[in-house]
Amino acid sequence: MNPLSSADTTDETAEAPADEAVETVEVDERRQAVVDQFTELLGDAVVQSHIRPGDDVWIRVTRDAWATTADVARNRLGFTFFDFLSAMDWLPSPFGRDMDAQEDTSGAVAVDDADASPGEADADAGPVALETGYAGGDTRFQLLARVYDVRNHIGVTFRADLPDDDLAAPTWSTTYLGADWHEREVREMFGINFIGHPHMVNLYLPGEFEGYPLRKDFPLLARRVKPWPGIVDVEQMPTDGDEDAGDLRCRRRCRRQ
């Protein structure tokens, strides 16, 4: 079973591994009940869900229902504790796994229309298929938020797809007061705007900062300057034709300077 494939709301029970102990099946029912409650109250807005038995539950909702989801979770279903709100960028890093490739190693930037790079020309095979996580997803950017029910000790992770051409979502900060700072962080790090946020200014970055650091196509400059784990500074052994090896150290010192 591919762990990244997520179960549909309908075949949730089929997804549960058969070798789970009896008591985890019971917990699984608790989480199934959570999914059922949200499906009942939100209707079609629940796109997909995923349960890992005895552990956690993911629910993907539509972007339009993002604010309603918070309201339902907090005021009707008792998920009063706000854990965090963040975002995901599912684009595979264009700079290679170690982020130290000097240029784009994939044509994946074609997904991001704002970034016109030379790699785009040979990406006519279409955008690279994005591999999204639990509860699925169709877009590069996803919202990610988690709330918790401190009475029944159960947490839910919410997801919502955001279309590339309109990176915005309704704010949660009117329902969960703590979402205020989290949304500011997401805005500056991912470039996702939150409509209705009372005070949308940068939290961490200086005001004139350009770019969105946590996006996958934002290069990690330290790595581009010096690829990981650093180029091993070894001089080539002198061959016969070379001058004597005595000044090797001197040459190395000169090069360093």
Binding site: D83, M88, L144, W181, N202, L203
Partner: protein
Amino acid sequence: MAKLDGEQVVRCEPIPGYMHRGYEKLCEVRTYPQVTTLVNRIDWLGSFANEVPFILAAEKLMDVEAPPRAQVIRTILFELSRLGNISLFLGDLGIQLGGLTIGFYAFRDREFVLNQIESATGGRFHPNFDRIGGIKDDLPKGWIAETKRAMDRIRRLCDEFEELVLGNEIFAARTRGVGVIPSDVALSYGMSGANLRATGVDWDLRRDACPPGLSYDLADWKVWTHPDGDSYARTWVRLQEVRESTHIVDQLLDSIPSGPIMAKVPRIIKVPAGEAYVATENPLGEMGYYVVSKGDLVPFRVKIRSASFNNISVVPWVSRGVIIPDLITIMASLYFILGDIDR
């Protein structure tokens, strides 16, 4: 940044970011074992506690469990870092409110805890000791008896704090009814740890949602709450928490099982694809890591949910209309570590 009207605060807004180190981005280019070095530096007073939730998240994705001996030692070190952290709070609060004596006492006795952490892990502040599937080393000889002595010192510090600070009239006048946060606001802001328990919410991740890999169930202890939600309550809850923590350590020291300290893990750690959120009750509150893996050597994304970030975001709400001296009390009693806000 505070906007004042005379001595009254109109609006107070913390401006974080001067210590932002971009750990979420950096985690994406570090292998899983390398990440612990980074996250040590989030809450630097309780560094070991920062490593644990990340390691547990990786263990969850890999379906590895540390052997019982490693779990107990891990839990003891987790509690020691809590003691090292909160005992400094007890001293710092006194300093902020003008009672310097307790500050010196706290630094004096905290040293014994740090010595124990150092002799077990090799690092006073950045142990970097937790490993996927266990811990790095076994305990040194004579460590258990020495740690018990350190616990006695800390318990004595608590008594001194109670006499010197909590029983002090001036302290009571400056903290009672100052910075009151009701429980629904605290939950809505995502405040956690002692700050949340001081509003009457009986919730402790160690007891209620302890992730596999820590062995709090071996000890008998109590979660303290306080109904008031003011600065006094926050201080009181933390004091009780330190006391309980010393008892947890004492009990766990007596029940360390024998056996290996590392499970069988591959030399090169590749974490299977999946997502996991693991949170633990850190000294400052709930600290969690949302780890997304794509089956690689490095995590695809790590979202760090740190306690102080949420705890301090309540400041604009709670500081409206208070006077400047109360602002000091509020900030000191909410207790934050800058690195834990900025990450």
